[in-house]
């Protein structure tokens, strides 16, 4: 029984670990005054429920293009939804005239660039793409901060 449980746990851990290979992180502008975000805060910002940091500063989320596998990975890890489900979610909010989806960055490089120059911007990129001292990692997707 225990060995079965251990095997199941191992498989579950592997399943969790596999999609995290890209090591996605959420970054904000270093001058935003944000040290760390909880998973709930990241969800609220990217799903348009509440787009502000704890210090009251407005958050402007950026999405990667759908062609980037990191976009699907981000939402899969964040809310366990695929992009079709996210499309349906945003269709409801956009076409009812409510919240708008995150603005689209052209690429991960563009996202880092926008976050480094815009105090409110927030984006998800691979950890290896974080190459500017003007951005700060505030959440590891699927990491320990949740």
């Amino acid at each position: 029984m225990y060995s079965l449980l251990r095997a199941a746990l191992l498989i579950a851990l592997l399943c969790l670990a596999l999609p995290a290979r890209a090591q996605l992180v959420v970054i904000v502008n270093a001058a935003a005054g944000v040290e760390q975000l909880s998973k709930a805060q990241v969800i609220n910002i990217f799903l348009g429920r509440n787009r502000e940091y704890s210090n009251g500063q407005s958050a402007v989320p950026l999405d990667l293009p759908a062609s980037s596998p990191d976009k699907a990975l981000f939402y899969r890890n964040l809310v366990n939804k695929d992009l079709e489900q996210m499309d349906a979610y945003w269709a409801r909010l956009v076409f009812a005239g409510n919240t708008s989806p995150p603005r689209l960055a052209l690429s991960a490089l563009d996202a880092v660039q926008q976050v480094s120059t815009n105090p409110g911007a927030i984006a998800y990129v691979e950890r290896k793409d974080v190459n500017s001292s003007r951005v700060r990692i505030v959440f590891s997707v699927g990491g320990v901060n949740n």
């Binding site: 509440n50 489900q85 349906a88 269709a91 409801r92 956009v94 076409f95 009812a96 005239g97």
Partner: protein, 418 residues
Amino acid sequence: MPLHATSRFRLLALGLGLVAACHAPAGRAGESAGDEFSIRGFGTLGMARSTNGEAQFTRDLSQPHGAGTSWSPRIDSSLGVQANWLASPSIELVGQALSKYHADGSFAPQLSLGFAKWSPDARTQIRAGRIGADFLMFADSRSIGYSYLPVRPPVEYFGQLFFSAMDGADISLSFPLESQVLQAKLFAGRLHEQAPSALGMWDTSGSKIAGIILSTQMDALQLRGSVTNLRFSHNHDLAGFDQTLRQIGTAYGYDTAITAANALGTKGTNSTYYSAGFVYDDGPLLLQAMFNYIRHQTNLFQNSTAAYFLAGYRVHSLTPYLGYSQVHSNRRYSSSGLPDTAAFAAVNEAYESVIASSTLQQHTFTTGLRWDLQRNLALKLQWDAVRGKPRSRFLVSHPSASWNGKTDVFSVTLDFLF
């Protein structure tokens, strides 16, 4: 689908014009033009048929005819185009033209949304213009089939809501608390739509609407409640029946008949909508349950209570779902005010039939499958087993005397975004 191209483009232009005319272009450094101005759309190609030809199955009270025993694209097909313009970081202009089966029997596009949105900070949002009416949760996205799981929102719950937008303003305030977000929305405006019914066309334009919606989001769970008041500005057209009753009351000296005729009026009367419900949306699992109670001051409509439950679970690109919805109305005590004698039998019978026309006593079991064929394209197959009493006639169109309240509705839709 009879689309009137000329009026379609005229209204589309109106919507876009609204967006474009309000503000001169104002580009901002570091932003692509595509982000500031966008044109997007949504649509549904749908076919539905009902197995009982004694009444036509409609989606809601705004539809003058419904689906009969042969496959019909009428009730579910729609096409919408929307322009958004982010005129400044805090001001957005939105215009939307929607072609669907309207109260006048046409698919002529109408301006479904056209408003300016101002977000002075992250917690506040103010909209003014033609805005969606969402006091029943999701009611403002009823035409966007791609956005929800079933073919159409449950008829028992949403069917009485014949309007989807108002001309007015709303303010939304968010209060983040730890991982929870509380939201309050206040709205007020006027309706602009017509509502066809078995009794005749009802002009609800100018009717005042106001209400409050409170909601809270806790992780995957959203709780929501609302209270809305509607004050009608016109009487319902009763094909002269109320006038006849008044004249008979005057001629024969029955003040009670005059009172009864006046009580059928809708002008100046209030209808109040109460709703509460929850949505649990966690990865592949979706659960929804909603309840509403509608109370009318006029004797013309019966108060009603409705509820629905929907559950779906996504496996790869397939999401099977099950739903149950029900509605029942309560006939209040009222009479024509005339004695129950042979001389007045015809009038009394007519009065009873007017009062009975808003009776609701039915429930529906829904079974369906959504198949996301690719991004922005979903195919849905659905079977609705409508089980009601023969007197439940309010939400179907043109019921015959032998309508037994029961039918099975089969639907296929292709929902898309572009």
